[in-house]
């Protein structure tokens, strides 16, 4: 798991900051973007192993970012986690429709986010072995 690259997209610099510290403390390489458009560019050029994105961001929202990622051959299989501070919950069915592997509501626990990332990457690795 160590050395995996995580792209985090959020317009709240404090969220990027705290998530980056947590992940780096646990051996991950972190790249960050503060809006959807920038995140898409980084996803195409830096090829992260997993993307963590906020739902509501300026210019290109988290949902629009995922749609763009899924439409691109290079990024269509990159797992994504959606962070949301919206008032509604996102069901598993909706997650599948959106094309995200997991969805966490704000406020979230950095520990929980770390575990989710690790689980998804582990599953992905197992699937590749099979």
């Amino acid at each position: 798991m160590t050395g995996n690259r995580v792209l985090i997209a959020d317009d709240e610099i404090h969220i990027i900051h705290v998530v980056a510290i947590k992940l780096r403390n646990n051996g991950f390489e972190v790249i960050a973007a503060n809006n959807g458009a920038e995140a898409y560019e980084l996803a195409c050029t830096e090829h992260p192993d997993i993307i963590v994105t906020d739902y509501q961001m300026p210019f290109v929202t988290g949902i629009e970012l995922i749609e763009k990622l899924r439409a691109n051959e290079e990024t269509k299989h990159t797992p994504a986690i959606l962070l949301t501070a919206r008032s509604f919950a996102i069901s598993e069915e909706m997650q599948e429709t959106l094309g995200v592997e997991a969805c966490l509501s704000k406020p979230f626990s950095p520990k929980e986010l770390l575990k989710t990332i690790q689980d998804i990457l582990h599953e992905k690795a197992m699937a590749l072995h099979v």
Binding site: E12, H14, V18, S87, P110
Partner: protein, 484 residues
């Protein structure tokens, strides 16, 4: 009777004629003296004969007439006294009696009819008055009302309906509805026709109507008017719910925005607290950084809650206002320092102008500070990196007021949205994605300036070039002069 009289006249005429002829013949044949043979004598004889016969005839006629009258009088007398002999004496009594009872019945019936006629006239007047009242109500309704008959012809439509469906009501009466309102409102026409055909008591549907100021949603209730088993007409009432739907949507958006705005600083507080608790901050410097972030996010949370509460307090008139002479220049300078950190994060320069003239206003310092900081933070929020924000104060000596303007080089606001930017929960559609917000900040500015301080807010904007928001407050001297 008439026949007898005719026969009498005929007989008398015959007698007179024969007597005249006999007299003339006799005189001629007898050769009586010269005096008798003269025409004068002959005419005198004839006149005497005629006079005699006339007297006899008149006597007979008089006798007959008197007899008849006396007979009638007796019968009438008998009838009136009810004597047996009178009743038996002839049919006239029965006839008169029948006639009288019939006349009595007729008179009674006429009386009844007159009473009924009066009632009907009264009911008619009442019905006319009720109709006028009903029409006055219908014509003054803001809801559109349309009435059609069993052949889908327009019977009645009020002004609201004419405006909504765009037709001339004076020329449309008894015209086919489909032709009157045209293809544009086909869905509405079809709904009325289907309701009439189905005969369903009431149908309710939301219909979209394209108007000059954009699409409107109307809650449409269509009711059938029945005459026996048949549908004799259809009444449609259309209530415009466009604004209600907008408000409902705005409330939903507000809950969503507030939830997002509250959760965002809370997310930072939660995450940094957990990091501290888990010992993820290695050194004292990192821990201090985490504490500072938690503190700033808690303050942000508090400001947001205060915004929500202040709007509510001002609206309900419960807010405590402490007005005092305040120098706008000093207050603005202080708020500029507060916003600079946020502006520097976005690489936006904030500049101001310090006036050298008297600019004191009689205001609640904290509230006007909030106005200034809201305008400044909005300007920074909607200005792309590298842009600039400038705040200026002017004093209008003629109008005796101070004017503050905050100009940015931001994205700007479309002209059709400018009128709504101070509305509660309103967020400019095109800018919604660019920055987060509750749609409360500018409403709070308006409430504080206009409702609490009797000032005025204004905005000018050009898409792609930037916006200028501002407010005017009466100068402290002007307020004092007004008070005395």
């Amino acid at each position: 009777m008439r026949r007898q009289r005719s026969l009498g006249w005929a007989a008398t005429s015959a007698v007179i004629l024969s007597l005249c002829v006999a007299a003339l013949t006799g005189l001629h044949n007898s050769g009586i003296g010269v005096g008798w043979r003269s025409p004068t004598v002959a005419l005198g004889l004839i006149a005497c004969c005629i006079g005699a016969v006339g007297v006899i005839f008149l006597g007979l006629a008089y006798h007959r007439l008197v007899g008849t009258v006396m007979s009638i009088a007796r019968q009438l007398s008998s009838a009136s006294t009810g004597s047996e002999s009178g009743l038996q004496s002839g049919s006239l009594l029965e006839m008169v009696s029948g006639l009288r009872s019939e006349l009595d019945e007729r008179a009674e019936r006429i009386g009844q009819l007159e009473t009924e006629l009066k009632d009907l006239r009264l009911q008619s007047r009442l019905a006319d008055r009720q109709k006028q009242h009903a029409e006055a109500i219908i014509y003054s309704l803001r809801d559109a009302v349309v009435v059609i008959d069993e052949s889908d012809r327009l019977l009645m439509a009020n002004e609201a309906a004419a405006n909504l469906l765009d037709f001339d009501p004076s020329a449309a009466c008894h015209q086919a509805l489909a032709e009157t309102v045209g293809q544009k409102h086909n869905e509405f026409v079809q709904l009325l026709q289907q309701s009439r055909q189905s005969g369903i008591e009431a149908t309710r549907r939301e219909l979209e109507f394209e108007q000059s100021d954009g699409p409107h949603t109307l809650d449409t209730i269509v009711s059938c008017v029945h005459e026996g088993d048949k549908v004799s007409g259809v009444v449609a009432i259309l209530h415009d719910i466009t604004r209600e739907k907008e408000i409902s949507q705005m409330k939903n958006d507000f809950v969503s925005h507030v939830s997002h705005e509250l959760k965002t600083p809370l997310a930072s507080i939660t995450a940094y607290s957990e990091m501290l608790a888990d010992g993820e901050a290695d050194d004292e410097e990192t821990r201090k950084e985490f504490y500072a972030i938690i503190q700033s996010q808690a303050q942000r949370l508090n400001r947001l809650i205060e915004d929500i509460l202040n709007v509510s307090r001002i609206e309900s008139g419960l807010i405590k206002v402490q007005k005092e002479p305040v120098s706008l220049a000093i207050l603005i300078e202080h708020q500029m320092q507060m916003i600079k950190g946020f502006a520097e994060e976005k690489q936006i320069t904030v500049t101001g102008q310090t006036p050298i003239i008297f600019d004191q206003v009689n205001a609640d310092k904290d509230m006007i500070s909030q106005v200034v900081v809201n305008l400044l933070s909005n300007a920074v929020k909607y200005t792309p990196a590298g842009g600039s924000v400038r705040i200026e104060t002017q004093v209008d000596e003629v109008e005796r007021l101070a004017r503050v303007t905050v100009a940015d080089t931001g994205v700007g606001i479309p002209a059709d949205e400018l009128d709504h930017v101070f509305d509660k929960f309103y967020r400019v559609g095109a800018n919604n994605k660019q920055a987060k917000g509750t749609g409360l900040g500018l409403n709070l500015v308006k409430q504080i300036v206009e409702k609490v301080h009797g000032g005025r807010v204004f905005v000018t904007s050009e898409v792609g070039r930037g916006s200028t928001f501002g407010f005017e407050l009466p100068l402290a001297a002007a307020v004092a002069a007004g008070a005395t």
